[in-house]
Amino acid sequence: MRRKEIFVLADRCMGCHSCELACATAHTSDRNLHAAVLRGERPFAYLWVDRFGTQNLPTVCRHCLKAPCVEACPTGAMHKRPDTTTVCDHSQCIGCWMCTFACPFGACSRGDGQVLKCDRACLDEEGVPACVRACPTGALLWMTVEEFAAERRKPKRRAAAVAG
């Protein structure tokens, strides 16, 4: 089966930031929110919910097939895994932020001195990303391109997208 992607239906986003918290929690040592907080772990979220006017917009790495961040990285730290996800090898990252510069979405930011971006290291036992699982309104969808395109072709959704 083709790889699934995270699709964003921004009109459904209520700006609750649950995706961010779930992402950060998925990047703790035992994926346990309370335990991690009590231990003092300080993981980052790898996606961002911003507000533009009245529009909430979650931004997460698109894992572009022809990834500008990979092309721009001078050390090879940013690279493609065999499954085509884009990840950063932090041992090679020199913190030059060329990836941030190259990314058209603003999906590469800074954590503890190193690049911070979605690494898909958050999938649950069913293979669903933590942010998608946490979204209470279905603003984040986990679908193949074909599935999402088929959804978009449905008249109701298309009208909404055009109007949106």
């Binding site: 649950s18 918290l21 929110l33 309370h34 907080v37 009590l38 980052f44």
Partner: protein, 642 residues
């Protein structure tokens, strides 16, 4: 039928859960799945909606916002949230008590002829405790003073609320007074919490927690008052043999489930059901079978031996049987969804109280002045429903356990007096000193959907009983234990360690029971947590020590309601190590978490133990008991641990 499932340890519940799934009837467990994952900000207490600028959310990991818009930090935010939960819980228990105080006044005034002073001994005992004169006075005069004193405990007072102070040993009263932890009016403290947690008021997390504990002591006042007034009006419970679990429903009887909390309603339903037996028989039934759900079930169980159908999170399952003709409710812990289940299963839900109406239910306003008339109306609905139900198959799970319930402190003392008539508490103290009773654990609180129903209660109780800990229980914690045989005297040999076994047999035999007391003692409903306080206070007074020295612990192993939060908070204020088996929404505040689990000990002697793993929780409770035994110079099994 499937008798094992993911959602509950109770085989009867599992059978009905499977049936609900088969029929496509939505249950709390379906709604829980739909709710997952739950919001992490809410889970950690880091979402504030106290003003219209919010909601504000603080990042528990410290990378996002560190303060709310007004500037509150994480500790203030979680302390404010906790305080409001305590205030809400306190309003529930004390609202229940106020209802009883008004009922008592109406009874005395002669406008509520179905209520009367039933227990004179309790009336006089309460009057004596509260400093109300009794000599050459009629019961009515004394009762009126008690009712007025109860109502005067709500508003702002110059002296501490009577039911939060006079019920404690003097040494504890003094200590709490010094720490500003005695409430000056139940309603006053609740309003004070609402004030100080309003935008731009208290921003000192420790000060907020102090106020929260003081408000929780107001909750104790409400609970204690609830117990006292119920005993006066309906009698102080004595041990009674009955049964628990869905197997108590009868296919050929009119099944009426009383659900909620206050005996003001359920007592009259029970009495009228007996009077209307003939009417039920005329309709083709074998009689009227009143069963209990949740705490009002506990109330009528311990006073009349009414069997318990089920409790808390599985309340919908009683209706899934298809055998319940009417569920009559008052207030608190009534899931509004029972109306939807009722519609599917042919049950009628009857609401009775102005503060708890549910669309889809039949509302019969229940007034104390017209109690029997109102009860008759409700029971007629049940008989009519039974007539409609005839011929339809029902599924009553073949699961129930014998239960011996109704251990009020008075009943416990009476049982102990058979061992030592002059000094009934001495045998208990001797057995604790000898180690046959290693300590006492109060199981309280609810079921919580986040825990497979009863799992924590049963696992911890099994371990503690084997370790000779005397287990007393209330509310839906008691419900969990009774549905699994933990109140069946025949189970003592299976569940209890040798020391505890010998004590339960000795008391049982001295009382002519021909066998032991049940493995765990049923103290009653959730307001009856006051009975545990009364027992602990009596033992502490006799020993001449403060309550925080006793080898007594508490566990709300599957806590759910805000009332449970309030109870937990006053248990800690009274000096008890208090286990909570679910994560509380305070973990986002590191200082608050530390205060509640450690620092508060310097002030009250009690502290919270938050532990979601029941085996680990049992170990921690045992360690807390042993620590106190060692401090009292008592033997500790396996020697004192460093």
């Amino acid at each position: 039928m499937v008798t094992k499932c993911q959602v509950s340890l109770d085989p009867a519940v599992c059978e009905m859960y499977e049936k609900a799934r088969r029929l496509g009837v939505e249950t709390a467990w379906d709604r829980y799945q739909a709710m997952l994952p739950q919001c992490g900000f809410g889970e950690t207490g880091l979402c504030c909606r106290h003003c219209l600028q919010g909601p504000c959310r603080i990042d528990p990991f410290g990378n996002g916002p560190k303060r709310g818009i007004c500037g509150v930090d994480a500790d203030v935010m979680v302390a404010r949230g906790l305080d409001r939960a305590i205030a809400a819980g306190s309003s529930g228990h004390s609202g229940h008590a106020r209802h009883l105080a008004h009922t008592l006044k109406k009874a005395i005034a002669g406008v509520a002829p179905d209520y009367r002073i039933k227990d004179r001994a309790k009336l006089h005992a309460v009057a004596k405790r509260m400093g109300i004169p009794t000599e050459n006075r009629s019961d009515e005069e004394i009762a009126l003073d008690i009712a007025n004193a109860a109502l005067a405990d709500f508003g702002e007072r110059e002296t501490p609320s009577l039911w939060a102070s006079r019920v404690l040993p003097e040494v504890r009263q003094k200590r709490l007074a010094e720490q500003h932890l005695l409430p000056h009016g139940i309603d006053y403290e609740i309003a004070d919490i609402m004030h100080r947690t309003h935008y731009g008021a208290d921003a000192d997390p420790v000060n907020l927690l102090t106020a929260g504990l003081r408000c929780a002591m107001g909750d104790l006042a409400g609970c204690y008052m609830g117990t006292d007034l119920s005993d006066i009006l309906f009698g102080t419970p004595r041990p009674v043999a009955t049964e628990a679990n869905l197997g108590v429903l009868k296919a050929d009887a009119v099944n009426v489930a009383v659900h909620g909390h206050n005996p003001v309603l359920s007592e009259v339903i029970v009495a009228m059901a007996r009077e209307m037996e003939q009417e039920a028989r005329a309709a083709g039934a074998t009689g009227i079978n009143v069963v209990g759900i949740c705490c009002t079930g506990n109330e009528v169980m311990m006073r009349h031996g009414i069997p318990a159908a089920t409790h808390s999170v599985s309340q919908e399952m009683a209706l899934i049987t298809g055998a319940v003709d009417v569920v009559v409710v008052d207030y608190q812990c009534i899931m509004p969804s029972i109306v939807n289940v009722a519609e599917c299963m042919g049950t009628t839900v009857v609401t009775t109280q102005e503060i708890t109406k549910i669309p889809g239910a039949v509302h019969v306003p229940f007034r104390e002045e017209t109690a029997t008339e109102d009860a008759r109306k409700i029971l007629r609905l049940a008989i009519e429903n039974f007539t409609r139900r005839q011929g339809r198959p029902v599924d009553i799970p073949n699961h129930k356990y014998p239960v011996v319930a109704g251990f009020s402190v008075e009943a416990i003392v009476r049982a102990l007096s058979k061992l030592n008539p002059e000094d009934p508490l001495q045998p208990l103290i001797d057995q604790i000193a000898a180690g046959n009773i290693r300590g006492v654990c109060l199981f309280a609180g609810c079921n919580n959907i986040k825990v497979p129903q009863d799992q924590n209660f049963i696992a911890i109780a099994r371990r503690l009983l084997k370790e000779n800990v005397l287990v007393v229980s209330t509310g839906c914690g008691a419900g969990a234990l009774m549905r699994h045989g933990f109140m069946d005297p025949a189970k003592v040999d299976e569940f209890c360690g040798d020391g505890l076994k010998s004590v339960l047999y000795a008391i049982g035999e001295a009382n002519g029971l021909g066998g032991p007391l049940p493995p765990t003692l049923h103290l009653g409903s959730c307001v009856d947590n006051s009975r545990a306080v009364a027992l602990a206070a009596a033992v502490a007074e006799k020993l001449g020590v403060d309550m925080d020295k006793l080898p007594v612990v508490a566990s709300a192993a599957e806590a759910m309601a805000e009332k449970a939060v309030a109870i937990g908070a006053w248990a800690v204020t009274l000096g008890l190590p208090t286990h909570v088996g679910v994560t509380m929404p305070v973990t986002g505040g590191p200082l608050v978490t530390k205060v509640l689990t450690e620092k508060v000990r310097e002030i009250t002697g009690g502290y919270f133990i938050v532990e979601t793993d029941p085996e680990a929780a049992a170990k921690k409770l045992l360690a807390a008991i042993d620590e106190r035994r060692a401090a009292l110079g008592l033997s500790v099994p396996g020697g004192v641990r460093a």
